[in-house]
């Protein structure tokens, strides 16, 4: 078992080099993962269920420690968007968005200001006083995004955030997420089941194999930002999807 290095280095937001993760019960979740995310990168990871994709995020965020290899991450301002919106049901949209400001002791005025700004950014103005159970799945996810945005993160970790949404909400949120990506200037590591979603969003898509999780291939996506939702129907887009699909079949 090699020693794990967790150091801060601003040039790279997140770097895995030969990173391993074996759980206490002997389950090997990840072996020899190499992945690097720099400012301006939007990297997606696609792979079969249970291949350890989410483990990548848990390592990057510090919720779990790697058991081998190297991992460097700048955790100075990190956002983690969970599969579930993880809103507190007893708080209004506005109060939910303020939560991280409270946890980081940003002060009442600053927290309020940032929350108002973030709510505006995700298009939830007018819904500040709504309770989570009154919102649709898409709006709950927007609230969750707004909550993360209040910290102005330089690295965003997404764990299949739109997996539970219907196709229409999902595509709309994809486009809006890209708008945020180009205006707010963060680097992103995005976990998803959907090749289509991964290609539409990312600068690079990595394919992960089933247990134990390994990166078996990666494809750069050449489309410039901002991206028109229509690029999904271009031949080039289809080609990239096909290539990834082949890799995925080989991997599982």
């Amino acid at each position: 078992m090699t020693a794990t290095a967790v150091r801060s280095r601003p040039a790279t937001n997140l770097r895995f080099a030969g990173t391993d993760k074996t759980y206490a019960d002997g389950t090997v979740a990840l072996t020899g993962v190499d992945l690097e995310i720099r400012q301006g990168d939007f990297v997606s990871v696609v792979g079969p269920s249970g291949c350890g994709k989410s483990t990548l995020l848990r390592l990057a965020s510090g919720l779990e420690e790697p058991t081998g290899g190297v991992m460097e991450v700048d955790r100075g301002s990190l956002a983690y968007v969970f599969q579930d919106a993880t809103l507190l049901p007893w708080r209004t949209v506005e109060q939910n968005v303020r939560l991280l400001g409270e946890l980081h002791h940003l002060g009442k005025g600053e927290t309020r200001r940032r929350a108002a700004e973030a709510i505006e950014l995700v298009g939830l103005s007018g819904f500040e006083k709504h309770m989570p159970h009154q919102l649709s799945g898409g709006m709950r996810m927007r609230t969750s995004l707004a909550r993360s945005l209040t910290l102005a993160p330089s690295l965003f970790l997404f764990d299949e955030p739109f997996g539970a949404l219907d196709e229409i909400s999902r595509e709309r949120l994809n486009s809006e997420l890209l708008t945020l990506f180009t205006t707010q200037e963060f680097a992103a590591l995005f976990i998803t089941h959907s090749i289509n979603e991964a290609v539409f969003l990312s600068t690079q898509v990595a394919v992960m194999s089933g247990r134990p999780g390994r990166i078996v291939g990666r494809v750069d996506v050449p489309f410039p930002y901002p991206r028109d939702p229509e690029i999904r129907y271009t031949p080039r887009f289809a080609e990239i999807c096909a290539e990834l699909s082949d890799m995925l079949r080989g991997a599982s």
């Binding site: 965020s61 510090g62 919720l63 990190l78 983690y80 969970f82 599969q83 579930d84 993880t86 507190l88 049901p89 007893w90 708080r91 209004t92 109060q95 303020r98 939560l99 991280l100 400001g101 409270e102 946890l103 980081h104 002791h105 940003l106 002060g107 009442k108 927290t111 007018g126 819904f127 006083k129 709504h130 309770m131 989570p132 159970h133 009154q134 919102l135 649709s136 799945g137 898409g138 709006m139």
Partner: protein, 303 residues
Amino acid sequence: MTHSTLDAGQVPAASATTVPPVTPVLVPERGARPTRSRSQRRKDVLDVVLPVLVFVGLVALWYLISYVVLAPERRFLLPPPHDVVRVGFGDPANLQQIMQGLGRTTVIAMLGLAISVVVGFTFAILMASARWIERSLFPYAVVIQAIPILALVPLMGFWFGYGMTARVIVCVICSLFPIVANTLFGLQSVDRGQLDLFRLHGAPRSTIFAKLLIPAAIPSVFTGFRISAGASVIGAIVGDTYFRQGAPGIGVLIDLYRSRLQSEQLFAAIIASSVLGVVVFMIFTWLGRRIVGSWHATGRSLV
């Protein structure tokens, strides 16, 4: 944490009530609150009509037994309903005696419940904050629940005298466990993702309790209160029946009326104590809904 909406130390449930009401002007695109449909209204009507029909049936059965099954000289075993109402509640002297007894029993039950709430809540928080405390104490919480309370009542009288103290202690023993168990369950059944969120952002334990665990547990806490409130009333009446000293509670009256063959008063007293149990249960259900209902699904669906 002066900037927080739920300050540590403040009971979060209280701030949940201060959440401003929803403005109905802006209706969310999807997932909006369902409006009451016609079939829903019909269901509401049935919810009232069916229990009323059952009530009428039970009263009819009562009359049947009083007048048909029982011979007139044995009718004192079950006097007809209108006699119970006329003698037990209609006669001011009887009514006053029953209400006074009921009042004393209520005070004892609520005092016991209040102690249980404070002690039970504290213990549940302690158990939730350290696994070893839970492991050491929870078996005994179960033991308290499993002890047949009747077996302990004479002992309480023996130790604390047959007055107020012993009666309150009996109520506490009856009502402690549901609060401990439900609060602990609520504290421990918090969503893992939410817990990860708080940990990820470096929240200390005290903040996790104040802003996440305790608010999340409130629905379970109220379930516990409601069960305990009923148990405490039972404890108070059992205590009454055993300890015949001092001012008589409703339990003493019930036994007194039985020994004097005052059947009408006996049934009136039994009905009064049943109503007390139901009212206490309803008050806590209502309180739980008021505080929790605005956000938590269980606040709506339970009873």
